[in-house]
Symmetry: C2
Subunit: 463 residues, 2 copies
Amino acid sequence: MFAPHTYIERRKKLKEKVGTGIILLLGNEESSINFKDNWYHYRQDSSFLYYFGITHPGLTGIINCDSGEEIIFGDELTIDHIVWSGSQPTIAQLASKCGVNKTLPTSKIASSLKGLVHYLPPYRTKNQWKLSEWLGSPMNFISKGASIELIKAIVSMRSYKTAEELTEIEKAVNITADMHLGAMRYAKKGMLEAEIVGKIQQIAISGGGNLSFPVILSKDGQILHNHYHGNVLQEGDMILCDTGAETTMGYAGDMTRTFPVGHEFTQRQKELYQIVLDTHEAAIAALTPGIQYKDVHLLAGKTLVNGLIEVGLMKGNAEEAVSAGAHTMFFQCGLGHMMGLDVHDMEDLGEQYVGYNDSLNKSTIFGLKSLRLGKKLEKDFVITVEPGIYIIPELIDMWKAENKHAEFINYDLLETYKDFGGIRIEEDFVITESGSRLLGKPVAKTINDVEQVRAESLGLMHE
Amino acid sequence: MFAPHTYIERRKKLKEKVGTGIILLLGNEESSINFKDNWYHYRQDSSFLYYFGITHPGLTGIINCDSGEEIIFGDELTIDHIVWSGSQPTIAQLASKCGVNKTLPTSKIASSLKGLVHYLPPYRTKNQWKLSEWLGSPMNFISKGASIELIKAIVSMRSYKTAEELTEIEKAVNITADMHLGAMRYAKKGMLEAEIVGKIQQIAISGGGNLSFPVILSKDGQILHNHYHGNVLQEGDMILCDTGAETTMGYAGDMTRTFPVGHEFTQRQKELYQIVLDTHEAAIAALTPGIQYKDVHLLAGKTLVNGLIEVGLMKGNAEEAVSAGAHTMFFQCGLGHMMGLDVHDMEDLGEQYVGYNDSLNKSTIFGLKSLRLGKKLEKDFVITVEPGIYIIPELIDMWKAENKHAEFINYDLLETYKDFGGIRIEEDFVITESGSRLLGKPVAKTINDVEQVRAESLGLMHE
């Protein structure tokens, strides 16, 4: 964790922003797999991490904006626990590491919550239940009672990454880069997708941390969140690999590469890959403080459509096609999202507050409703840029039956692409004074560079 | 999954055993990491798997003992889901795979639960909440309302592994054996423990399945459930590695090996390792239908004490020492547990019902209270045998201060072992007509064999 003053300063600022009342921040408990004591890898809540930095399970923090008092609640281990889990620091020792001097047992929480209590919307049912018990409010009412002031205050702090945070994020992105290069070098035809997933996980864990989200790796890249890894890879397939590491402190990396199982892309794959790459570069070139990310997203859409018009999959005017939403046949999701202590940073706080604001509401139409970040970029935001082309047979059938956007989509040609799959290219950037900076070391991205890595890994020389 | 008739037969038998009322079996939902849609690796509930076999999230099954009716409740995907997660079978298609013909949306569950409802104690808060909502009972009352009849009926079925289950379990144990051999070959001084953990996880995932529980791997083997992997390995350290694979169907393997970071154990390590190995072999030799596992556990304790007397760490009469509980200074936990769809099979149903019965209650004294399985062994039980020696400094200090069991423990010598660590050897067995059979392929276990693997992996020849 960072030095105590980082957390002391953050809490001081948070108190000032929220102004009055008690801020209640719940840490996470262990999470059961198939029986109580068989646990998933422990993950602390990110806002708890941001303000207290402690990665132990079962803690709760309160910050009293009026009296200034800060308390960490938790229960000490018994000798039975020590036998099973080893000697552990006391709650007071843990608290002192983030500059909190007062600790109390968990049983004292409810009576400490008098008056106005600010809490965040829970994403784990266990914490929802705790809030329900402590606040004497029914389970179903808990999410509605979350504090908008607290959400806005936290978003206004966590959105701007400090130098020490950027160092941690870059560490995560560098391990992420190793995972991608590892996958690109390891894959061979005849392999199960799961074998590459195993290799990726090995690299993430060997780095001392973990994955920031479950590996998305598939020859069916058109399935955006594909966690099925049972396919056998064949010559001619492309692998879409979207994966990221998380450091021990909880900071995330998130990248995507798409590469051929053989040593070269097919002609068709090359054409669409180049369109995605051009779109990626156009979006990166547009990154600068003050530009709405929604506009970068729409610019990316236009670049994509222009490329698709060139290969004959779309037609008409690119600007009009994007306005009408016709590009969402190929690019159904958003261009990117905030990244930090969460891979989709602060997604638990609500996208309307994180990626949008009072003057820009999140859209509800297909495509734009999946854009997690729409508002103006600012210095020290960390974001992903991840355009893609996804050929989804079910969507083609559905739209074609309605003749939807037929003035922009060449359905006859598109029919012949139904087995194409998907392509995504994703990197992480920090917004600077005048533009943006790529985080982490570069990984092969152009067609030539990717084919070079593949050829080398297959023991072939590549001209 | 198995063929439909397996599940049809199981449900038929379960209905007969429970007799009357509605059996309600909850499948698991996705489980959130740090925001709602960032999910841990999905794991279906094991009893749901046993009776329905379906590994999709969000399903619930009911089996009406009186009318015979069986229903699977679940909700169909929308086109939005298909874009993100790909085309999926319908609920009816899923249900047909396990021979259930009726399906309904989740909203119909509460009204289907009339009269006596049998359910299992939930280990995930989400399922506890669902039960609370459906049954109109407060969250805190749900666990107490679990059906003892249903628990006993399920234990009386899941305890006896069929031939097709044994094949699956053996698959899991074989991958587990590969994980252990992989670790034993991969480890080198200077490595972070996490690097070996990564290697193990790679092998588990490449096998198409996953881990059956988080890897326990440490140079501090005395910490029984040690998930900290931040130590750097040094010559003279021993690595205790306790890990297991889970197949795609959910069956578990679970083994432990302890090996030196160098190519040889030290003299002291050899002495205690041989005691654990002798204890392991004595316990295995005793496995046979009809013997109480508690007696095998106590026999193991006696063998262990005899060895410890020989090296001078204990004194007096072994039988008396075990009766008094003095051996729990070194062997604080149980000899083993049931294994099947869970690594600690059916632990969620309650150890009193799984490992004990009406005529044998689980002990509450230190040591025996950690013995998960105490009752008589029967043909087709699958169990682990895992004795160990753990030198726990905190426990030594505590007992020594009380002069506890001073007639059996040589505290002066023990003080010099405080940095020793821990040793465990664990394998999986099925109880046969006349004894037991080792599951899976053998992995180096004697001092010579382990040192041979280490020497080979370090590029040394071993005499």
